[in-house]
Amino acid sequence: MIDTAAILLSCAGLVLVVLRAVALDAREPWFSPPDESGRDGDR
């Protein structure tokens, strides 16, 4: 019972974190378009 609750809690937090991170990573791209020299820059 305790084990199951612990696994559920940690997995719920994990899924929340992963999905939020993926969403933020997509929404706030940290790479700018290549500059005139063709280099990527990170924002």
Partner: protein, 452 residues
């Protein structure tokens, strides 16, 4: 049910990785720390999940995600050199079968750590790495902590999710050490991360998880845990601006623990000072002495698990009895590295520690006065304290190749590269400016470990 849930988590990582390749690497980190193969009742036991996540990370990076890689600096070089050296020592290992078995998982951890800075480059990615490490450990800490609260714990009792007495989260002393090392990261995450809402609930969860970690440390009855906690408290106090407040917090925690602890806990801890009367501690000291002699004869090391060759006896209880030692483990990170990989290995391992510490200090220094980098400075502080606790506990445990340490080293490299990139951008470098959204954030509320 449990197996299906864990399988679902693995599939979530794989699905998320198709959208954002760094999620594959998050999956690898989770598998290495949570060890679903050992938590599962059978469906995932023995499944090569870690390898699947590792291969997926590599393929996805090469195919989709090679943007703005970090400089191939001293960190990755040192990790690869370390991987090469442990491979070389395995070729002359004294117990080849055992050595290659340990090499198999150890070298993967080291190589993956060298690769991690290429995957975790932005604030979101680095924070996700820290939170996934914590979520992986949380399952073990909540289970062990809750059972300790109900039963009082006990020496040698495996109350966690892994009931096999081995590995970082199965062996109780190792679990106590990593639980201690997790506390500063939990407190960082509860106050700084952008990945979780900044609400009272999240803060409360952070404190609850910290309490579970403390209960785990006490519930294991591991003397190692007490040593790691003492170092954690000292390192925290050392870097604190408000030293009196930190000292008061440490004293309150120690006082509560003192009042709640049972006599058998005090009896166990008392053996720290009387190790010569206690065979477990006495055996460790004997093996350490043996390792020093062994390294004198084998300066290049005897390969992984070379401790299995130790066989000797020693008089105890004033010579009334003889204590036989046969294949007793090193019980120390430093003697493990010395006995297995010789003086070269010890230097390389020490260099890894120095490199990580230098990177953390670099980030702390550069983050001063830069609101956009405040989170990085606080994370570096938390990681520094975490590493100090891990290395202190590790002085009595053979955990030199456990992934937690290498994930700390990899995060140090990622953070250092992030700060260099962000500041060179704002200083008119070739890169674009650092994230404006981050720069607009108010100075992050917590003063990190300094403010507690």
């Amino acid at each position: 049910m449990r197996d299906l849930l864990l399988l679902g988590i693995c599939l979530t990582f794989l699905a998320a990785g198709l959208v954002a390749p760094f999620a594959f690497a998050l999956g690898y980190v989770w598998v290495d720390l949570f060890v679903p193969q050992k938590v599962s009742f059978g469906l995932l036991s023995g499944a090569p999940i870690s390898m699947a996540m590792g291969v997926a990370t590599l393929v996805a990076y090469l195919a989709l995600d090679r943007r703005s890689p970090p400089r191939f600096g001293a960190g990755p070089w040192l990790l690869l050199l370390w991987a090469a050296w442990v491979t070389l020592t395995t070729t002359w290992a004294e117990v080849p079968d055992h050595a290659w078995t340990k090499w198999n998982w150890a070298v993967k951890t080291i190589c993956f750590a060298a690769f991690m800075p290429y995957v975790f480059r932005s604030r979101v990615q680095i924070e996700a790495l820290v939170l996934v490490m914590l979520a992986a450990l949380a399952g073990h800490l909540i289970a062990f902590g809750a059972k300790t609260a109900l039963t009082g714990g006990g020496y040698g009792k495996t109350l966690g999710l892994v009931t096999v007495d081995s590995g970082l989260v199965g062996e109780t002393s190792s679990l106590a050490t990593v639980a201690t090392a997790a506390i500063p990261l939990i407190l960082f995450a509860a106050r700084h991360t952008r990945l979780l809402p900044r609400t009272g609930w999240v803060a409360a969860l952070g404190w609850a998880l910290s309490a579970a970690a403390l209960l785990t440390v006490f519930g294991t009855y591991a003397r190692t845990g007490l040593v790691a906690l003492a170092v954690l408290g000292f390192a925290w106090w050392l870097g604190a601006r408000r030293k009196a407040a930190v000292a008061a917090a440490v004293l309150v925690v120690a006082g509560v623990a003192w009042m709640q602890a049972e006599d058998r806990w005090f009896a166990r801890m008392a053996t720290i000072g009387t190790y010569e009367n206690e065979t477990s501690a006495l055996g460790r000291v004997a093996v350490w002495n043996w390792t020093i002699d062994y390294a004198a004869d084998h300066p290049l090391g005897g390969g992984f698990d070379s401790y299995r060759t130790n066989r000797f006896s020693m008089p105890v209880e004033g010579g009334a009895k003889t204590f036989e030692i046969k294949g007793m483990a090193f019980h120390s990170i430093y003697f493990e590295v010395l006995g297995e990989h010789g003086y070269v290995g010890l230097v390389l391992f020490g260099a890894l520690v120095v490199l990580a510490v230098r990177h953390f200090l670099f980030v702390i220094r550069r983050a001063k006065g830069d609101p956009g980098l405040a989170w990085a400075g606080e994370l570096a502080r938390a990681m520094l304290v975490s590493m100090a606790a891990y290395l202190a506990g590790g002085a009595f445990l053979g955990i030199a190749f456990q992934p937690f340490f290498y994930f700390l080293v990899a995060t140090a490299i990622s953070l250092q590269q992030y700060v260099i990139r962000a500041q060179s951008s704002s200083n008119g470098g070739r890169s674009a400016p650092p994230p404006r959204r981050e720069a607009r954030l108010p100075p992050v509320g917590l003063k990190g470990w300094r403010g507690l």
